[in-house]
């Protein structure tokens, strides 16, 4: 775990459904929304699409925190003041080993070194006392 300086980028919208995810991240654990009937895993909190129950039994279960980069963009413009000093920065889409796609940033990698299907793993970054962000780094 590494600390980053206090920034004013947007913080996640936390509600009753996703609070366990963010609580786990604070502890350095990466979880996915999991159907206890069939084991399918999701992110964000999507109710199991493989089961037909109106309220499938979903809960946050530990996941590997590993995956591969399937796409990325380099943001050259600041659409929010909090990112003014960070441009150009990357936003990447990681296909997790469990299946779901996870939007994140790849850290410790120059923008031009990002590669398709690059293997990555979780690296938590503490943003505030309450929020720790799951970012990813090259493995």
């Amino acid at each position: 775990m590494s600390d980053t300086p206090k920034i004013t980028t947007p913080l996640p919208d936390v509600d009753e459904v996703n609070r366990p995810f963010w609580d786990a991240a604070k502890r350095g654990e990466f979880t996915l929304y999991t159907c206890s009937d069939c084991g399918s895993q999701y992110y964000p909190a999507i109710e199991c699409t493989k089961c037909s129950a109106l309220r499938p039994p979903m809960s946050w279960k530990q996941a590997s925190g590993k995956g591969k980069v399937v796409s990325w963009v380099i943001m050259h413009k600041a659409y929010h003041e909090g990112f003014r000093d960070m441009v150009p920065y990357n936003v990447a889409l990681v296909r997790l080993d469990e299946g779901p796609f996870f939007l994140t940033n790849i850290i410790g990698c120059a923008n031009e070194d990002l590669r398709y299907e690059m293997p990555v793993s979780i690296d938590f970054q503490r943003i505030t006392d309450e929020i720790t962000l799951p970012r990813f780094k090259s493995t």
Binding site: L11, S71, M75, K77, Y79, H80, F101, T104
Partner: protein
Amino acid sequence: MTDRLAIVGIGATKLGSLPDQSGTMLASEAMRSAIEDAGLTRGDIDGMICQPGHGYGSAGPAARRLGLPLKLFADLQSGGASAIHSIVFASGALREGLADYVISIYATKAKTAKVLVGASQEDSGTDSVWGMFSPGARNSMRARFYLERYGLGDDTFWPVVDNQRRNANKRPDALMYEPGLTFEEYKSAPFVAEPLRRFDYTPMSDGAAAFIVTTGERARSLDRRPVYLQGIGLAHAAEYSARGGTDFDSDLDQFIRAARAAAFGQAGVTLEEIDVAELYDPFSVYPIMQVEAYGWAPAGEGSQFFREGRGGARGEIPVNTHGGHLSWGYLQGYGPILEGVRQVRGDGGATQVEGARLALVTGSGEGSAGSPAFGNIILARE
């Protein structure tokens, strides 16, 4: 067969930087043009659907300025799918006898207001946590995936930009009627969300566009020859993306194909019968993916389709004959519908497709749904 609906009037203002014209002025002007085009009077318009516009909002105040005797009024926001969705809602009102003529309108002051679409000052969010903002960046994510999946270079999107600009250069009504664009200029322009550059994005503009929908029966009583709505198909990506995919993976293909099947099934026509395609293109990557999803080009060969001129004004299936969003201007889903109507009427000027009888028009947008809606319509001369 149920009597088809028809579009009987279209109107648009000029596009560009129009600081002295309020959104309400622009909306009123586009609506007057559409009413005049249809050969109607203000007193005939009893339904109105607005897509609130960037830098302006709802064109509702224009209804009062024109003194319209409305029974139906609603704002509708599903981004670039709104124009097609407005036809769906107009259809309900017309078929229920709740309105006789429904006008659909979009007005924007995006240029004057210097709107940066997708910009945010919110201190919390979902994707914004990672610095992901704007439809452009989401399309850029789609674009990068496309380039990597097919092993293509970063000149892949230029043929679309070039196709649209060449068309606009022949159309005095287009925002980019005068400026040409070379590959060197395209390539040296700055990235916005890489791999997409400035000219891969639609330029912002002020302006307004409107069209009027009525029943086929009423349409035939007017002097102006109607353009019939031969088929409509809708789809939404929420289901596909929830299944664990993304809205730019093969899922995009799936939901475009679902909307296509619905529209062509209803229209009773085949892809080969389509004469001209007005494809929603706020970003250059999108028409490439659409020509593939419709089946005009094999997967991964959409760029080649445009590079070989097959989507040109004299090509096998002319695409975005007015210049599209990239060069005609960005009035959301309204630009493509207006051009589809012009083509089927034979009013396409220097980029008219000879003998065009059937036009395919698409629209796609997010609104607040968080995943894209897609709609397509088939317009017919007879």
